[in-house]
Amino acid sequence: MEAVLERLKMKTSNSKLSWKTYQREIIPVLVIVLCALIFDAWSGGAFITPRNLSNLSRQICVNLTLAVGMTLVILTSGIDLSVGSVLALSGMAAAISQVHWQWASSGLVGAVFSFGLAIAVGGLSGATTGMAVSRLKITPFIVSLGMMVIARGLTLIISSAQAVAPLGDTLGRLSSDYVSPQISFVLLLGIAGLGLGVEVLRWVKQSAPGGDIAKNLFAILALCLLGIYTFCNYRGIPYMVFISVLCALVGIFALKYTRFGRFIYAIGGNREAAELSGVPVAKTLWLTYFLMGCLAGLAGVMDSARVNGAVPSAGELGELDAIAAVVIGGTSLMGGMGTIGGTVLGVLIMGTLNNGMSLVGVSEHYQKVFKGLVIILAVYLDLRSKKK
């Protein structure tokens, strides 16, 4: 028995940084860097500028918010096709409350209420989907397909198929305002310091393989440097980026450090076994879809703020972008395997391609074809790396 423990110890302390273990994180990062360099060269240095990167960060916020929720859903081996429509419905609800109900005139209070309304609408539809999936045991694909059509229909009904604009100034600032560069700098340094501290502590206590710690240190440093370069040189951190990154961080934390997160992996890994291990399957599933709905609501209000109004066609194919980011990020559609960290990389790849191709003037039609190819290629590569 001591021999076994001895081996356990050796294993944790001796882990080396090996290409094989971390290729699934290294490859996407390399892809992003490579794409960025290509686009930068192609556009004559217009891609890697604080201004463009800041724009890019604002463009990916909506998808990041959706993709965080979608990761949870897909980890349970489910799917939520309704998020694009729910985004439209909740964004529309927020816009109507601002314009028709004149909440815009009550300044910050009105904005907060509109913001809350959007999340409530999203949460409600997520709760409905979740109820049908967890209690009535209908396949998530079908339930969310139905909800997708319903939410789109409701959006058209409440808006009479018209665009609703403009939002009040206060809500609009959600998109147009920034945390000031000075505060941003302090924030980023703070986060970097905190992250470094935690990782160094883990290293000292040897509570994680050395490779994992190195990987996290690298990620923290790279993100903070990139953040400082981008945001401190151009207006600061956009509010939207702040919010969606917060969502991602909370999601990462929840998956790793809460029972809820463990249950999600368990349900996706083997639902029968989860049930027989006493995992509250129905409750967990419901909560997952509910959270997905709330995040879609949040994405809805962010999307409305971005265009300063709501159109009934908002978020069309948004669900597919989110799903694509999740699978590019290495989460298995069968459930049980994957991380939000991977999803963030997936969102970054999609965002880089979108922004870069627009920047160098590739027509939108070609962009679609190319994006489709990238999705298939990414999943194929991931499949191959898993088999080895």
């Binding site: 423990l5 081996r7 356990l8 509570s207 809460t258 368990a266 029968e272 049930e275 995992v279």
Partner: protein, 516 residues
């Protein structure tokens, strides 16, 4: 007799360095009926998989010659074409299709009576069904060709498989435990069919029911620990010798000293009946008690309701239940595992890959998933370092052999997987432990270790309800054994001077046991 029909020559097969078969050699001649016997884990199913092409040639050592030619199968389809057919314990039929479709579907499509490989051949249903009916009649099987397979009894489904093998011109038919789900009348009928067809086919009959073996076989080949130890002519041997060869050592059963379990039973089941949703009786008025520290074995043939009994008590068997379950003197009505777990009643399901384990996840994940509330920090989040300590102590306690407790459980051996599964519920420190086939597909060494763990848990005061199809296992572990047949209790036996035969007689419904 001339050259053998099948000749197995020094066949070996190992999994992860553990030999399932070690240089097995034997010969079978045309027209013989051979019984292949051996304990669980003796290598019978591995051998069958080699003969049927599940393990393709090249994946095992040694040679197999069939009809004088070397057998080089690449897939099970080729195995069937070569003239070797196998009828597995779990039948391989399409339940939603008709008998006729099942007979002809897996080959080319002779839909109008003549074989054709065209994908878009028109189906001549009438000719097709008539041909199937002809085949059935010719073989003397009372099976309607148009019947849907899932409506047929298990016995008739077997006939369909035999007819299919015959249609495929099988020269060697292997039957793997064909009688485990049959009634006595059906067994006799099957035997008549086999006797009648012996002129056309050669049979290998796998079973551990020795009376059947002696009724049917000309010759008995005994496998033990992956080796073909002997071949015995029926006329020159008897059951005692076969058992000796199977076990390989004088049968020595540890005499369980009868212990008195006085005091109130911790779990008491009173006249529990269970009907499936289609109003089929699964359990009928089952009553039993079990005390702390006691091991109650539950025995019965396949389909006797032994697993269903556990599932019904725990509230996870579909259908409706009547009767009472008392736990620690209180009447309980568990509706799912979580509720039972709150009362400290734990369950280890039979099919560890389907129902028990998270195969892609680590050992640590699997060990703690049922008891995450035990390692919460003050803020309600998971304390990962605490968790790691618990995982280490569980791994140590159960003797799971692994290099890294983050490695996925699918890379572990069956025995270690089963230990992980046990560890998961042991972490709960349950008062009642319900085990369904705790050592299925586990090699002999690991089996002993698991027995030791179970004995240890019982001596610490856990009540254990043990369902097993392996009689030696029940005899080695149980204080008492309850025998079920067709959902009814046939008897309850103190494990004192008890033999496998006594249990089998009850399970087969041939005598009524005295209730003690």
């Amino acid at each position: 007799m001339s050259s053998p029909l099948l000749s197995v020559s020094k066949v070996s097969k190992s999994f992860d360095g553990i030999f399932a078969l070690r240089e097995v050699s034997f010969e079978i001649f045309e027209g013989e009926c051979i019984a292949l016997v051996g304990e669980n884990g003796a290598g019978k199913s591995t051998l069958m998989k080699i003969l049927s092409g599940v393990w393709p040639s090249g994946k095992y050592g040694g040679d197999v010659f069939f009809e004088g030619k070397k057998l080089a199968l690449k897939s099970p389809v080729e195995g069937r074409k070569s003239g070797i057919s196998i009828i597995h314990q779990e039948l391989c039929l399409f339940p939603k299709l008709s008998v006729a479709e099942n007979l002809f579907l897996t080959e080319s499509f002779p839909y109008d009576g003549t074989p054709s490989n065209k994908l878009f051949e028109r189906v001549h249903w009438k000719a097709f069904e008539e041909k199937a009916q002809c085949l059935m009649d010719e073989l003397g099987f009372d099976v309607e060709a148009r019947a849907i397979v899932e409506d047929l009894s298990v016995a008739k489904r077997q006939l369909v498989e035999i007819a299919r093998a015959f249609h495929h011109k099988a020269r060697l038919l292997i039957l793997d435990e064909p009688t485990s789900a049959l009634s006595q009348v059906e067994v006799e009928h099957l035997f008549r069919v086999i006797q009648r067809m012996r002129g056309q086919m050669t049979f290998i009959y796998i079973s551990h029911k020795l009376d059947e073996v002696f009724e049917l076989a000309d010759r008995i080949i005994v496998l033990r620990d992956g080796q073909a130890v002997t071949s015995l002519k029926k006329s020159e041997t008897d059951a005692a010798q076969v058992i000796r060869e199977m076990v390989g050592r004088p049968v020595h059963l540890e005499e369980k000293a009868p212990k008195d379990f006085d005091g109130d039973p911790i779990l008491k089941v009173n006249r529990l009946s269970h009907e499936s949703d289609s109003a089929k009786t699964i359990l009928k008025e089952v009553s039993f008690e079990v005390c702390s520290g006691e091991v109650l074995g539950i025995s019965g043939l396949m389909g006797s309701g032994r697993s269903e009994l556990l599932r019904s008590i725990l509230g996870i068997q579909p259908g409706t239940r009547t009767g009472e379950v008392w736990f620690e003197g209180n009447k309980v009505n568990w509706e799912n595992i979580s509720q039972a777990m709150e009362d400290k009643v734990a369950f280890v399901p039979e099919d560890r890959k389907r129902d028990g384990l998270f195969l892609d996840h680590g050992i640590d994940f699997n060990l703690t998933i049922a008891t995450l509330d035990q390692n919460l920090s003050g803020t309600g989040t998971l304390a990962l370092s605490e968790e790691k300590k618990r995982v280490k102590s569980l791994i140590e306690r159960l003797g799971v052999k692994c290099f890294d407790f983050k490695s996925p459980v699918k890379v572990l051996s069956g025995g270690n997987q089963q230990k992980v599964l046990l560890g998961k519920v042991v972490a709960l420190s349950p008062k009642v432990l319900m085990l369904d086939e705790p050592t299925r597909g586990v090699d002999i060494g690991a089996k002993e270790e698991i027995y030791t763990i179970i004995r240890q848990l019982a001596s610490e005061g856990m009540a254990v309800v043990l369902v097993s199809s392996e009689l030696p296992e029940l005899l080695a572990l149980s204080d008492r054994i309850m025998v079920l047949r067709e959902g009814k209790v046939m008897g309850e036996l103190q494990n004192h001077k008890l033999t496998q035969e006594k249990i089998m007689l009850l399970a087969a419904g041939e005598v009524n046991g005295s209730r003690s």
